[in-house]
């Protein structure tokens, strides 16, 4: 009896130790992010590095595919279906990397089609996104009930946006909660690149100066370090390491764009209950830099969609 009790106690101790180790590894993901962030932050920004070290958990939030598509539409851009990644390409994506990147890409295309009320494309791209999510083993990312709801409300943009938002959250929450931060990051990277690709392709060079869409493209400079920090959190994963090289290439071009912002002044508007963050900004991007940026984005995106 005592001998058996001893064996069971030992089993319990081993299992509990494994539990603690596994739990430690999970939260270690955050620690890994912290260390990776330290590497990527510019040397002159010591205070930021110290700040990051102090925080227990860091979230690097990129604009979601839905937000990227909304930015394109709000800039007054037209819809061009030829810019989307054809749904037929979905059959050729068999690696986790290609499926993750294209889950982001197809979700961005889906968002773009949704905002411009392209009914048939909405269904096609929802199915394409579902295929990628299924391939990645993401349970219940896109459920049949959501596709049915989509078809029933195909002319109701509000409901469609709600479904797109919900399915995207199902995917990224599943990946985050199931210890797959590298795949989660790649999905976001795919979506971000697709938004940038569509934007750069829609710019009319004859209407370059004062173009609202160009302004939104310049704004993406503000997200490039967030993107790198997100990827650095999964450094060591070969697929992520390749992406880091590509993003660093893009960052070199964004570094040629200047953004100068004045001090931000919060002003609360009692009537609307909204705070306005007021500031003045000066930006500068020459047409030559834009062309370089556009070409590089297109080349990188090609490596994502052509597999």
């Amino acid at each position: 009896m005592n001998k058996k009790y001893g064996i069971y106690s030992k089993i319990l101790i081993v299992v509990l130790m494994v539990t603690s180790l596994l739990a430690g590894c999970k939260s270690g993901g955050t620690k890994a992010t912290r260390e990776a962030v330290t590497v990527s932050v510019p040397k002159d920004n010591i205070a930021v590095v110290e700040d990051i070290k102090q925080a227990e958990k860091i979230f690097n939030a990129l604009p979601s595919p839905l937000e990227s598509a909304m930015l394109i539409k709000s800039a007054g851009a037209r819809f061009d279906a030829s810019l989307l990644n054809p749904v037929g390409n979905g059959n050729s994506y068999v690696t986790n990397k290609s499926m993750a990147l294209n889950l982001g890409i197809y979700t961005c295309d889906l968002s773009f089609a949704s905002l411009y009320e392209q009914t048939q494309l909405i269904i096609d791209y929802m199915n394409a996104a579902k295929k990628m999510a299924d391939g990645l083993g993401i349970l219940k990312a896109v459920e049949q009930s959501q596709i049915d709801k989509l078809e029933e409300n195909i002319n109701n943009s509000e409901v469609i946006m709600e479904i797109v938002s919900e399915t995207f959250m199902n995917s990224n929450s599943y990946l985050s909660d199931n210890g797959q931060p590298a795949i989660a990051a790649m999905v976001l990277v795919g979506g971000w690149f697709e938004g940038l690709y569509i934007s750069t392709q829609l710019v009319d060079m004859k209407d370059f100066n004062g173009n609202k869409l160009v302004g939104r493209i310049i704004d993406q400079k503000l997200s490039i370090d967030i993107l790198l920090n997100l990827l650095e959190g999964s450094k060591g994963n070969p697929a992520v390491d390749d992406l880091i090289v590509q993003v660093k290439k893009l960052k070199l071009i964004f570094d040629k764009i200047s953004i100068t912002t004045s001090k931000v002044r919060p002003e609360y508007d009692k009537t609307s209950n909204v705070t306005v963050l007021k500031s003045e900004v000066k930006t500068d991007m020459t047409p030559a830099v834009f062309k370089e940026l556009s070409t590089t984005v297109s080349e990188i995106r090609k490596t994502f969609v052509n597999n």
């Binding site: 069971y8 539990t19 227990e56 958990k57 595919p65 539409k73 800039a75 704004d219 963050l277 500031s279």
Partner: protein
């Protein structure tokens, strides 16, 4: 004897439970935090984690001048108040929900696009000797096109 046989099963359940804690945050975010976004469209991104009282989290995000935003920061009922501050690139505090009775949401818009930092901190019950409370904390963003 039967109890002894149950030990490994209980231990395995413990392992499973450890892994499911974060999974529960999705349900929490969906049920508690997203409804707080109201008329704003949830962007689809997911930022949630289990935090212990006294613990801090940071979030970096670019916000665009074309949009109006609502941020919703929610903590599990088991946790004390959750404080959140919004800072600009020069670390100036632009908003703190501590000044608004720990409000869960904040609505804002920008005259020019900015990268902002959100610092979320779970307050402490200050009960020495007791196991610190832990629970899900979610940060969700909603947006709409600026009028």
């Amino acid at each position: 004897m039967r109890i002894l046989r149950l030990i490994p099963i209980v231990a395995l359940l413990l392992v499973a439970a450890t892994y499911n804690v974060d999974g529960q945050c999705k349900a929490f975010a969906k049920k508690v935090c997203i409804p707080e976004l109201g008329a704003y469209t949830h962007d689809g991104n997911y930022h949630a984690a289990v935090l212990v009282e006294g613990e801090e989290a940071e979030l970096y995000k670019t916000f665009y001048s074309d949009m109006e935003y609502r941020v919703s920061v929610c903590g599990d009922d088991k946790l004390p108040d959750v404080e959140f501050r919004v800072l600009d690139a020069n670390k100036n505090v632009l908003y703190s929900n501590k000044d608004a009775n720990y409000a869960k949401t904040w609505d804002f818009k920008l005259s020019s696009s900015q990268q902002l930092k959100l610092v979320v901190k779970v307050n402490s019950f200050n009960k020495p000797g007791e196991t610190p409370a832990s629970g899900c904390v979610a940060i969700m963003f909603g947006f709409k096109i600026k009028k």
